[in-house]
């Protein structure tokens, strides 16, 4: 039987040890609490700092930032987001995105999780002012639920500026086209004037010939009447009239035929030039199948006037050149610009050194036109600049500086091709146009407004 006194002493000792253990534990936990409290205070400070930084970033962010619930209710917005939609910052929460941009709302309804962009979208401010916005966003779980985070930019002013810029570019293109027409007009007038001149001469000749024939017929008709009146030796008169007609008639018939033939050629020549001018003067145009050899021939024909002043163009058409689908007038204008530039360039060198060559060729992917000349060439330091808008080496008042820039616009952007300055033996300058045989969808035909998710 254990001694109860000793057992109680053991209980007291155990209880005392338990109390001491509890005190140690309390001390330990107090220290831990103090340490954790310090850490918590530091975390709270960091959190305040991060929150303040985030708030300031949100308030100065140049883009509108909106956080929307899955059912497109705006839950948070920054100052610019509210301003962009024409709302007070404290009044925007709870409003539906659909109120401001139904178009975007439809797009977001269909959006998969992940990042997405909407290049251009119609919207309306709270006051009803129409605006156009660009949106980059994220759709997916943010914190505890699926939400939309939208970065919105008002692009109304930018689009207006772009439209204005496009208008100016179009006007500049038109100016360049008119400049080319002006450059060609003197030569074309000469080209038209020459056939008109000989057509006119031939008409004069034909009038004389007809009068001569009519005179002979009248003389023949007069013979029976003279015989009745017994005017003298009829035999002599008849012989004279007959000889006059028969000796001239063969030559006259040949001359009339030649005059008619020449006149017909002259009129055809004038008609062709007028048709080419009409074609060249017609701006824009849809894509249509055409052969580059035909376009080069037209350019060579239209520039004949300038060629007579400078040098004749050597045209080497490629064999079996395939047709390609392109904007005929645009490509023809580019070739014309290059040819006129070449004519201007070679005009500055000695007559004996002047050469301009235009060659066409093709392979499986591309159809090419090379325009080479023996002018002064393009200095190395200018080779990068010549395609820049408003850059020209021509004297003041002669070039607009738009020729090559427009050529790049037409060939690269309009047709997915290339326009490059290359080296060709025997020439100082060679521009190479490369056009794809099968045109891809070009930026001009793409819808600007598109939505992509990635």
């Amino acid at each position: 039987m254990p001694d109860p006194i000793k057992t109680y002493q053991a209980i007291v000792a155990r209880e005392k040890a338990s109390r001491e253990a509890a005190e140690r534990l309390l001390e330990e936990k107090s220290r831990e609490l103090f340490r954790k409290n310090g850490e918590l205070a530091r975390f709270a400070e960091q959190l305040r700092e991060a929150h303040g930084l985030l708030s300031e970033m949100m308030s100065v962010a140049p883009n509108g930032i909106l956080l929307c619930s899955e059912d497109l209710l705006i839950t948070k917005a920054n100052a610019n987001g509210a301003k962009l939609l024409g709302c007070q910052l404290d009044a925007i929460a709870g409003r539906s995105l659909t109120e401001f941009t139904p178009e975007l709302a439809i797009t977001l309804d269909l959006a998969d999780d992940g990042e997405f962009s909407v290049d251009c979208c119609d919207a309306r401010t709270a006051a009803g002012t129409p605006i156009q916005i660009e949106v980059h966003g994220y759709c997916g779980k943010i914190r505890d639920r699926r939400r939309f985070m939208l970065l919105i930019r008002d692009i109304t002013a930018r689009l207006e500026k772009e439209r204005h810029q496009q208008l100016i570019e179009k006007q500049l293109q038109e100016a360049r086209r008119l400049e080319a027409i002006g450059t060609l007009s003197a030569g074309i007038a000469h080209e038209i004037n020459t056939p008109i001149q000989y057509v006119s001469d031939n008409i004069e000749f034909l009038r004389d010939a007809i009068e001569q024939i009519v005179g002979s017929y009248r003389a023949q008709d007069a013979l029976p009447e003279a015989e009745c009146r017994n005017d003298g030796p009829l035999e002599a008169v008849a012989t004279e009239a007959s000889e006059a007609v028969t000796s001239d008639l063969a030559d006259l018939a040949d001359d009339i035929d030649a005059a008619l033939s020449e006149s017909r050629d002259g009129i055809r020549q004038v008609r062709d030039i007028v048709l080419l001018m009409k074609d060249f003067c017609h701006p824009g145009g849809a894509q249509e199948p055409c052969n580059l050899n035909d376009l080069v021939r037209n350019v060579v024909t239209l520039s004949k006037g300038r060629q007579k002043e400078v040098v004749a163009i050597e045209f080497e058409p490629g064999d079996d050149l395939p047709e390609l689908c392109c904007r005929r007038s645009s490509v023809q204008q580019v070739i014309m610009n290059l040819v006129l530039n070449a004519l201007d360039a070679v005009e500055t060198v000695d007559l004996a050194r002047r050469r301009i060559s235009v060659r066409t060729s093709h392979d499986q992917q591309m159809v090419r036109v090379a325009v080479s000349d023996t002018g002064p060439g393009v200095p190395a330091e200018l080779r990068e600049k010549i395609f820049d808008p408003f850059f020209t080496t021509k004297p003041v008042g002669k070039g607009t500086g738009q020729g090559l820039a427009i050529a790049i616009e037409f060939i690269v952007k309009g047709h997915g091709g290339h326009l490059r300055l290359i080296e060709e033996p025997g020439f100082t300058t060679t521009f190479l146009i490369e056009l794809p045989r099968h045109l891809a969808d070009t930026p001009q035909t793409q819808e600007i407004r598109n939505v992509r998710t990635h």
Binding site: R14, A17, S18, L25
Partner: protein, 179 residues
């Protein structure tokens, strides 16, 4: 094992017997800690096994029954010690369903070093509930006692049956409670 289980066990033994009996039990169990426990400390669960085995040998009861009885007693103490864990209007099944996913999560926040058993709800129907208990300490009887304590607390009359589950390496017990 959390010290609160040991201190509650001591209170349980004192209530059943007296302070002298408890001290003799501690001395007889020959514990490394000498029975010095605080409610918030953590101690080896083997000391509890020794205490229960010694109590069983001294009282003539079997250890499994002892654990069940103690578990049943402990649940009532939990209710008075941690009333915030109980939600107004919930049933015994609802409460048991929260133990693994909610109550143990809260325990871990307070005691990151706590080694808690796995409790998984296998079936939860109005008239039938199945809870899977998995623990390396194999205190299934203690768990069963806690389940009975829970049914007592909510005034639920039910039959509890148990069946072995899991594998030799990962033993488990399924407790099926049917109204």
């Amino acid at each position: 094992m959390k010290g609160v289980v040991f201190t509650e066990f001591f209170a349980f033994v004192e209530g059943q017997h007296d302070e002298l009996f408890l001290q003799e039990l501690i001395d007889a169990a020959d514990l490394p800690s000498k029975g010095v426990y605080t409610a918030t400390g953590t101690y080896p669960h083997k000391e509890m096994a020794k205490l229960v085995a010694t109590l069983a040998s001294r009282t003539g009861a079997d250890a499994q029954t002892m654990l069940k009885v103690f578990g049943r007693h402990l649940f009532a103490r939990f209710h008075s010690g941690f009333p915030e864990m109980f939600v107004e209007g919930q049933s015994a099944f609802d409460f048991l369903a929260t133990v693994g996913d909610c109550i143990h999560v809260e325990v871990r926040k307070l005691y990151p070093d706590a080694e808690l058993p796995q409790l998984e709800v296998m079936e939860h129907r109005p008239d039938r509930f199945c809870l899977r208990y998995s623990s390396s300490r194999c205190l299934g009887d203690f768990c069963e006692g806690l389940i009975y304590g829970c049914l007592d607390h909510f005034g639920t009359k039910a039959m509890v049956s148990r069946r072995e589950a899991g594998t030799r390496d990962a033993p488990a017990i399924d407790f099926v409670i049917e109204l």
